[in-house]
């Protein structure tokens, strides 16, 4: 009995009218946790009841505390018939179980009904008293912190990164149980919502246990997904990166008071010093860790990982690093030996962590779903993922890498066919974060390599390249070899040398498929996949060249399967890495150059392409410093003038294909336009319309070349569903799909035009084929305004002052990009740069055109115009520009179902979904506010399943969202009122004073 949960129902407001006769409601509340239920009194005849109940107390195991949500049901009392339910609130109490997160949940939460949507609000108070648990064999993992953020959270430092954690739980889907035939849609929806809540709780607890066994205290980059397998069940799975995190107190004032509550970390002062203004390299919380700050966690704990992987034993323990050395330029880190899967869900790393990047590795597998007979033994699903992860691992090895970063997993299900996909970036990591072993080899290595280009250097052996690639000497340091292009799934490292700005690059593909059943269907899909993937890759490469860029970050390839087609969408952010060679152009040629008009046609096309490349170079400010080989005298091969497209690429297997950097043989590529595919390629290349003036876009966290964000941010979700005509050819489909994405982007630019100049960051496209002839595209992103006048030179120093901004400034890039005569400015006196910073700060206030940007301070948030609704910001990024996150309050993971049988009355499908998404946002905001937060970071909409039946006037939608609830303060306020904010927000630090 290690925990006591207490809940108090204060009041309700805006309740719906439940009694037509009186136009009022006699409301009461049921509070349920596990199998215990309490009730409040009936508050008669009011739409704004004041229950002011006693504290309802639940004495429960902490295991239950983790698994179960607190369920609050608001009902209308009816003397003669059954009480009518008004709606429910599920409260995830997990944030209360961690001492560093929230302490109380208090506020107005929307009362939600799956048929009617939000029906008023209820004010509740929830607290948890936890008793110390001394049970060594406990099943709970209270206190393990979870973060959706795929980097080390802002107010923590990573003491140790333990590695990959995964788990999955399965159950029968209530929607497909026999009882569903006799119960109401509402009951069925609620059963599903509750089940998924329970399963996520259980999953999180189990992952937490694994983390504890590994010796960690947190999961970063926690990614939880649902597979709605229909008849065969419901799978909830999650992956993440186990870490040991340590909180950094962010206030300089407290620097003299080391956090005594964490005894073993007595080396905190350097950390504070780095945070102080003006000191170089103070780039926000993920500060460059120094060797002495690592506390000594015994690596033997990590060994226990294998015994802990309860149900995933495939006895595929990796071999020792022996044969790995074959590829590696540096000795493999020791952690490979004990890590079954050296995978990291992180996409951004503390400086010095990522040594080299090999390239993208991905694996796919087509499976036939069968019914899960015993939910307690989810072996089949586990085995499937095992296979894929092994595949990924071997791909990474082939690239000479011992780790995979930016790792993610996804599925696409259509009827009984399921495509499992995994992808990541093969990389060589520094072992500094893995354990406190000898650091000499790495250290020696790092000293030689400049951080701005080091990660581009090939990790594989030059003489033993796993695929044909063009290698040149690094254009930055000229010492190590680099590839001609680099594809990755991670964010652009902050220290990377980049020329110009980046942009969103998408490859879109649609392929028809014959209708088939069972195994035949799976085989058909399997045989199509490699082609699909290959063509996506080709498209990406061409579009990259067309923009004059040489590297892709944040690459995400989504393949969606429908009954009669396959959709592929690859999104990434293209950049020009200074270290890599300049990309060649694209040359096209006819296969049979016979008549003159044909020749002319080709030459006009060629001209168009060349013009576009030039235009793009100007647009993205790509003007790399002239290559001055002769002067330096380095043995750099002649820059190639054109790209080569390699069309006879062989896939490793039907099921699994590897994306690599190979772009063919050494001979020059000629794009032949007799080839229908090539015509299509060229068409696709040239139809991508450029972003309107003032707009930039990327799918990564940050945009290279833009630093001075204003505080104006606007997160949004846009969903479109298109109905296709029957009997379309591949080309027709392609065109439609491509136009669809383009038009969606155009609409977004138009919508957000008042924010110009602005960048759409973290543009996350999700495609689905909900029905035979429907394509659904959902986008979630954040638009962020920036100041046009870039404080180019002093940016370096202002960046250091503004901690968060500095994080995203490729500091080292400065010297690489700007002519040397500007470099003297970087040694400006701090006072001058401060003044410059202030002037930009004042100009951004008036420049913020959108409401959210109105420089609203935390204080004014709390008390504007007497409204009780606090402003909550939402962003898919891990940070808020111009603000500092001072506390993480816990993970937000919510699942909602909405159904209607009066679709027309609710404004049709658009009206229905519009309302639902707005309601989901509202509920997320309300829960964050109740936790005491004012923002959600790393927000994502992981699932949006929409089904309609217009003939029956019905529709149903499922949405799953997640993110991290945080408290942030404006940097301006932090400086001016550091004392106030400190007392207001840091209970912990006060306690230690």
């Amino acid at each position: 009995m290690p925990g006591k949960l207490k809940a108090k129902i204060v009041a309700g407001r805006h309740l719906p009218v439940m009694d037509r006769a009186s136009d009022l409601t006699d409301a009461f509340v049921e509070v349920k946790f596990g199998n215990t239920t309490f009730k409040t009194d009936v508050y008669p005849k009011s739409l704004n009841p004041q229950w002011n109940s006693e504290w309802f107390k639940f004495e429960v195991d902490d295991e239950d505390l983790q698994d179960e949500p607190l369920q609050i049901t608001v009902l209308d009392h009816d003397t003669y018939s059954a009480n009518d339910a008004i709606g429910k609130v599920y409260i995830d109490i997990d944030p209360l179980l961690c001492s560093e997160a929230a302490t109380v949940i208090s506020g107005w939460l929307p009362i939600y009904d799956t048929i009617h949507g939000i029906r008023g609000e209820i004010n509740v108070l929830v607290k948890v008293d936890l008793f110390n648990d001394l049970n060594r064999f406990r099943q709970s993992s209270c206190g393990v912190k979870f973060f959706c953020t795929t980097s080390i959270p802002r107010c923590y430092r990573a003491v140790m990164v333990h590695g990959f954690v995964e788990e999955l739980v399965v159950n029968e889907d209530p929607e497909y149980q026999w009882i569903d035939r006799i119960r109401t849609p509402r009951a069925s929806n609620e059963a599903r919502q509750r089940l998924i809540f329970l399963m996520s709780g259980e999953l999180q607890r189990k992952i937490g246990l694994k983390v504890l066994e590994m010796g960690g205290n947190a999961v970063v980059g926690y990614l939880q997904c649902f597979d709605l397998e229909g008849e065969s069940g419901l799978v909830v799975r999650a992956i993440g990166t186990a870490c040991t995190l340590e909180k950094i107190s962010t206030f300089p004032a407290t620097a003299t008071h080391p956090n005594n509550s964490s005894p073993s970390k007595d080396m905190k002062e350097p950390g504070f010093g780095e945070e102080a203004p003006g000191v170089p390299l103070s780039s926000g919380p993920p500060t460059p860790l120094r060797a002495q700050t690592f506390s000594s966690f015994s690596p033997s704990k990590s060994y226990s990982r294998q015994s802990s992987s309860s149900d995933t034993e495939l006895s595929l323990t990796p071999k020792t690093g022996g044969h790995l050395c074959h590829f590696c330029m540096i000795p493999p880190s020791p952690f490979c030996v004990f890590q079954e899967y050296p995978f990291f869900t992180l996409t951004a790393f503390p400086p010095g962590f990522l040594l080299h990047v090999g390239g993208v590795v991905s694996a796919r597998s087509v499976k036939l779903l069968d019914r899960i007979h015993n939910p307690d033994e989810p072996e089949t699903r586990d085995a499937w993922w095992e296979e894929i992860r092994q595949e990924i691992k071997s791909h990474a090895k082939a690239l000479g890498c011992h780790a995979v970063v930016g790792y993610s997993e996804s599925t696409s299900i259509c009827e009984e066919v399921c495509i499992l996909s995994a992808s990541g970036t093969a990389a060589v990591l520094s072992s500094r974060f893995m354990q406190d072993g000898p650091l000499d080899t790495e250290h020696r290595f790092e000293e030689v390599v400049s951080p701005g280009c080091g990660f581009c250097h090939i990790p594989y052996d030059e003489l033993n390249i796993p695929f044909p690639a063009q290698l040149t000497y690094c254009y930055c340091c000229r010492r190590y070899k680099v590839p001609d292009v680099l594809f990755t799934t991670i964010d652009l490292p902050t220290e990377a040398n980049v020329t110009g700005k980046g942009c969103l690059i998408q490859a879109r593909l649609c392929r028809t498929k014959k209708k088939a059943q069972g195994e035949g269907n799976a085989t058909a899909i399997s045989s199509l996949l490699p082609f699909l993937e290959y063509e996506l890759h080709t498209q990406l490469m061409n579009k990259l060249k067309l923009r004059g860029m040489n590297a892709l970050f944040g690459l995400r390839i989504q393949i969606s399967v429908g009954e009669t087609m396959l959709l592929g969408l690859a999104s990434a952010t293209g950049v020009y890495l200074t270290a890599l060679p300049s990309p060649g152009g694209i040359q096209i040629a006819g296969k049979t150059p016979s008549d003159i008009t044909y020749e002319q046609h080709i030459s006009t096309m060629q001209k168009k392409i060349n013009d576009t490349i030039d235009k793009n170079k100007e647009l993205y400010e790509i003007n790399p410093p002239e290559v001055v080989e002769e002067i330096i005298g380095s043995p750099i091969p002649e820059p190639r003038q054109r790209s080569r497209l390699f069309r006879s690429h062989s896939e490793s297997s039907d099921e699994v294909s590897e994306l690599d950097l190979s772009h063919g043989k050494k001979d020059a590529f000629v794009l032949e336009i007799d080839d229908t595919d090539a015509v299509e390629d060229i068409h696709a290349l040239l139809t991508d319309s450029p972003t309107p003036a003032g707009f930039y876009s990327c799918n990564t966290e940050i945009m290279p070349g833009i630093q001075n964000w204003t505080s104006a941010i606007q997160m949004f979700t846009s969903v479109r569903v298109f109905r296709l005509n029957a009997n379309l050819t591949n080309q027709g489909l392609n065109k439609i799909f491509s136009d669809l994405c383009e038009n969606l982007l155009k609409s977004l630019y138009f919508k957000l035009r008042s924010m110009v100049p602005c960048c759409l960051c973290h543009l996350n496209f999700t495609v689905a084929i909900p029905e035979d002839e429907l394509i659904q595209v959902a986008v979630t992103a954040v638009a962020m305004s920036f100041d046009k006048e870039q404080p180019l030179e002093n940016g370096k120093q202002s960046g250091e002052k503004t901690l968060i901004k500095g994080k995203h400034r490729p500091l080292k890039a400065m010297s690489g990009i700007f002519p040397p005569h500007l470099s003297f400015l970087s040694s400006l006196s701090p006072s001058l740069s401060l003044a410059l910073l202030l002037s930009t700060a004042s100009s951004l206030e008036k420049a913020s055109p959108l409401p959210e940007g109105r420089s609203r301070s935390l204080r004014s948030n709390r008390s504007y115009s007497g409204s009780s609704v606090a402003v909550v910001k939402m962003t898919p990024l891990s940070f808020i520009p111009g603000a500092k996150i001072i506390k993480y309050l816990g993970i937000i993971n919510m699942f909602f179902i909405r159904e209607t049988s009066s679709l027309r009355e609710e404004g049709g499908v658009s009206g229905f979904l519009h309302t639902f998404i707005a309601e989901v946002f509202a509920m997320v905001r309300a829960h964050v506010a109740a936790l005491g937060g004012n923002a959600v970071v790393s927000y994502s909409m992981k699932e949006c399943v929409f089904m309609e039946n217009p003939n029956k006037n019905q529709a149903q939608c499922l949405i799953n969202v997640s993110g991290d609830a945080v408290i942030f303060v404006r940097e301006s306020e932090l400086e001016s009122t550091s004392v106030q904010t400190q007392s207001a927000t840091t209970h912990t630090s006060n306690a230690t004073l």
């Binding site: 805006h14 309107p692 949004f716 846009s718 155009k746 919508k751 659904q776 959210e852 609704v869």
Partner: protein, 368 residues
């Protein structure tokens, strides 16, 4: 290929002022798109008609979803569904409750009933305002009317607090409510030259001086109904025209005052002998007119005719005699003041309360 579903939801609700206005004006989506295209927004933002259509539909949907909140503006600040910054909320409310002067002239003083609502299509044809917009404006009037009907306290303040309207708009609504409640006739041909603002000004005068609220400020309906006691007392003013002596005395006083040699303005007036003579000749008629209006106000039916009476009995005769506003002001000032010096006239308080309003109303209404 067709777009089956198309939504955009921002964490901060995005609302375009221009589209909002088109929506309020009752344009259909297609008409709104046409107007926007003509406005040149496409060239500005490199957008296509398709994009514009999608945006317009989306905005219209957002406004429709917000509309029920706008019916109770206080709710807008407390709801959780849309995150709208306070200044945007104020803009939404203000524009939603804004109305067309030409529309309000059509329904001013009419009963805000279903019957009137049914006639809105005629109003729409006449004014060129879309029926949808007419309905919104009418419903706004009715909603405000219903809410303040049952409230105590000052009318303008109640409207401002309940509907979060800016001061001027709240005053206008007070006028509309006041007119609807007293059913003042404003539609007659002779009154057509008057604008809504003329009437709103008069309503303000009446509310501030003739209602119960002018004497006691914590009564129900205090600002909506005229002070019955005062109306009763007005009957006593009849003595000014029924008593022959008093009438003559009053006339000569006014003449003396206006012809007083020390008054520069009067000299100027006297210079216009024509006007002056007319005034002298008409005194009895004009005075009779004003006092009769006062005496009849106790009857609800005559209250309705208040403005038409003012025009017929006073403004028209003066206009036909080509008085200027200055003449009018001077005349009314002396007419009011000289009554106080009359020996047998006792009803000074009522007379001041009555004439104060009459004077400012007439001055406001005296134009072409």
């Amino acid at each position: 290929m067709s777009v089956e579903l198309d939504v955009f939801v921002g964490n901060t609700t995005i609302m375009d002022k221009e589209v909002y206005q088109l929506w309020l004006n009752g344009y259909t989506v297609n008409d709104a798109v046409k107007v926007r295209i003509e406005g040149g927004v496409m060239e500005e933002c490199e957008a296509s008609a398709e994009v514009l259509l999608s945006d317009t539909m989306d905005q219209y949907r957002t406004f429709q979803m917000c509309e029920r909140l706008l019916h109770h503006p206080a709710k807008l600040a407390n709801q959780l569904l849309f995150q709208i910054p306070p200044d945007r909320q104020a803009m939404l409310i203000e524009r939603y409750y804004a109305f067309d002067d030409s529309f309000v002239r059509e329904v001013l003083g009419k009963k805000l009933s279903k019957g009137t609502k049914k006639d809105l299509d005629d109003v729409s044809t006449k004014t060129g305002i879309t029926l949808k917009s007419c309905r919104r404006q009418f419903d706004n009037f009715k909603r405000v009317f219903k809410v303040v009907e049952e409230l105590k306290g000052p009318l303008v303040e109640n409207i401002r607090q309940h509907f979060l309207l800016p001061d001027q708009l709240a005053r206008d609504y007070a006028a509309i409510v006041f007119f609807a409640n007293n059913r003042f006739e404003t539609g007659k041909k002779k009154l057509q030259y008057l604008t809504f603002q003329d009437f709103a000004f008069c309503a303000g005068q009446l509310i501030n001086n003739w209602t119960l609220g002018a004497v006691d400020n914590m009564m129900e309906d205090m600002d909506v109904d005229l002070d019955k006691e005062f109306l009763q007392d007005l009957k006593d003013l009849k003595i000014l025209i029924t008593d022959k002596d008093l009438l003559d005395q009053h006339k000569s006083r006014v003449n003396n005052e206006t012809s007083h040699p020390l008054s520069l303005v009067c000299n100027a007036l006297r210079g216009k002998t024509n006007v002056f003579n007319e005034m002298e000749a008409n005194f009895k008629n004009l005075s009779r007119g004003l006092v009769n209006i006062a005496a009849k106000l106790i009857n609800a039916k005559d209250v309705r005719d208040f403005f038409i009476d003012l025009v017929e009995k006073f403004i028209e005769p003066c206009r036909s005699d080509k008085w200027t506003s200055i003449d009018m002001n001077l005349y009314l000032t002396h007419y009011t003041n000289s009554a106080h010096i009359l020996d047998t006239f006792k009803h000074h308080a009522v007379w001041t309360r009555y004439m104060g309003v009459i004077k400012s109303c007439i001055l406001r209404m005296y134009h072409d």
